[in-house]
Structure formats: structure tokens, C-alpha cells
Assembly symmetry: C2
Homo-oligomer: 190 residues x 2
């Protein structure tokens, strides 16, 4: 599955929840899908234009160029299901934190500790965000049939954040043990 197809999938999918403008689409992708998906600005409008050209989405309301929402056509809905059925292309991991820790000997245990604490805080924040998202969701009506699936992704975010916190605590403890052993200490990194 090509990358551009994945952008199409995200746009069609979001419009399957409810029709909206390109601007709202961008906000929705940033806020609601944000913890597991991202689309950049300069992709959404071109993607919408292409989808409209293929009659997979249509403009609702005024055909003025401004303030017109987009909605899925039946063909668009079919296309979405096709795309969802294709296997996800494996993502290329790029975890800057783990890369830095892998070479941690070069910067020493203290710098590593800081990095880990920072990651731990971000994970705590994510946990809070997931909680807020879940509350917001249950207050929203008209999404009953989608909510069970939304909850799967929120749960994934929570599990991931909790795993990060547990790992961070373990990692901090093992760095502390290193200091006591003296096997790796400040100023002895080269």
C-alpha cells in the first residue's frame, strides 16, 4: 500500500464519521487521530481535490469555494473499505530517545536520566489526554456505533503510556545501580 493511499484512507475515514470542511478535517486529524496518526497541512487539500476529481467525495451545500463541507459518495465509501482491508505497510521506527540512550555511554548517566524523566512526563501527559478523550467521547451523541472502535485506540494509547512509565522507572533504577557499582560513572565515559 502506497503512502498516498494511507493519506486517502485517513481523509475518507474522517469523512465517514461526519462530513466536514478541509479545515475541520485538519483539526480532527490533529486532535482526535493525533496520538497515532499525523497528516501534514500541505497534503489534506491536494488529497481532497484528488478525491473530488475521482468522485469519491462531494461538496455539500453552496458550491461557492468557501465553507463547503465534504461528504463521502457511495463510491468513496467503497474505496474506504477497500483501503481498510489492505495490509498496513510496516512503519519505519525512528525513536530519538532510544537512539540517544543506546549511545548513552557518550553522554553519561545523568544526561540519560534527564532524557528518561522527560519521556516519563510526556507519558503521564498522554495518559491524562487519553482520559480526557474518553470522557469527551462518551458525552458525544450520534457516534454510538463508532465509539467502541474509538475506545480501542484510546486503550492502546493508555497501555503504551503506562508501559513507558513502567520502563522509565525500571531504567532509572538500573542507572542508579550503575552509579553505585561505579562501573559507569561521571567523567569515566571515555
Amino acid at each position: 500500500m502506497a503512502r498516498s493511499d494511507q493519506t486517502q484512507m485517513a481523509v475518507l475515514g474522517a469523512l465517514s464519521i461526519r462530513p466536514m470542511t478541509g479545515y475541520a478535517l485538519r483539526e480532527e486529524i490533529r486532535s482526535t487521530l493525533g496520538h497515532f496518526w499525523s497528516e501534514s497541512f500541505g497534503q489534506i487539500y491536494p488529497a481532497l481535490a484528488e478525491l473530488e476529481r475521482q468522485d469519491l467525495v462531494e461538496r455539500l451545500g453552496s458550491s461557492d469555494s468557501r465553507s463547503s463541507s465534504f461528504a463521502l459518495t457511495p463510491a468513496g465509501n467503497a474505496r474506504l473499505r477497500d483501503l481498510l482491508g489492505e495490509p498496513a505497510e510496516p512503519s519505519r521506527p525512528r525513536n530519538g530517545l532510544l537512539l540517544r540512550l543506546f549511545f548513552g555511554r557518550q553522554i553519561g548517566p545523568d544526561a540519560c536520566r534527564e532524557l528518561i524523566l522527560e519521556a516519563r512526563e510526556k507519558a503521564e501527559q498522554q495518559l491524562a489526554q487519553m482520559d480526557a478523550a474518553r470522557s469527551g467521547l462518551l458525552a458525544d451523541t450520534g457516534l454510538d456505533r463508532d465509539i467502541p472502535y474509538f475506545l480501542l485506540t484510546i486503550s492502546a494509547g493508555e497501555h503504551s503510556a503506562r508501559a513507558t512509565i513502567a520502563w522509565a522507572d525500571e531504567a532509572l533504577a538500573s542507572l542508579a545501580a550503575l552509579d553505585e557499582d561505579g562501573t559507569v560513572g561521571l567523567g569515566t565515559t571515555d
Copy 2:
């Protein structure tokens, strides 16, 4: 921090463990850093050439074009530490599985179950890989001072994989509950 800097960081970092050829570098990045970092083929040689031009790495042994290992120069080591000290740029998440599950209503619970089972299996495999990596590491001598840091990244991989497994089991249970409720059933997704 620009992306290309991150490629430099990975290359310099790998060479800080031990000098090696471009080919070995590629293998090392794929196999050892693979679970949290990736560099594509066509980046490593240009990056090495650029680093050599800046006198951050040097060729060891024969200055023939073939079979020459690269090693960090003192300037290269300093550059590595600078890079490691810079904050990691936030990664843009693109989780194809969660994107599909978010729109899971379109494909129904059975298709979602399959996706989740697949992810669960991959996580089990990762767990086994992490275990193998840890064993291989402890057998390797001459890396004593690096090993504690390597172990941090292995532990992160394990926590992450275990979190995925726990989430998958929970998710499968909640999909099963959905079926019983009849709130979302086969053929009732539109």
C-alpha cells in the same frame, strides 16, 4: 534538529561502538538498532562521504576504495556528543493498525479481530527477538561499558511488546462483548 542530523547521529554513534565498513554499518543499523531506528540504504553512503569530507570520520587501513573501515576522529566524537545532547525532534506517529481500528465500524468486528491477532503475534515475535538480543549481548566481550545502555533499549522493546499483548487481549475481549450485545454485528455496519 534536522533529520539529516539524526542520520549523522546514528552513523557516528554506530562507529563509536567500533569502526566498520559502510556495509557493516548498514547491517548493524538494520539488526541492532532495527527495533527503534531505521536508515535506508541510500542514505548511509552519502552520509559517510559527507562525514569524511568534514573530517568527522576517517578511513582505516588501505586507502583503496574497497574494504576500508571507518572510525570516528576526535572531532567526530565531539560532534556525536553535541548531537546526542540536542533534544529529539518529536516523531510523527503513523500507526496503520490503529488508523484501521479507528474506522473499524466500516470493516466490522471480525476484520478487526484479525488485525489485532496479527499485531499480537508480531509483539510475541518481538519479545523473542529482544530475548535473543539480550543473550547475544551478554556473550559479546569488549562492550562492557556500552552494555548497560544497550539493555535500556532492549527493556523498552520488551515493555512495549508486552503492552501490545495486554492491549490486544483486552481489545479482543471487548470486541467479543460487542458481538454478544448485538450493538455491532456482522452485516450491520451501515
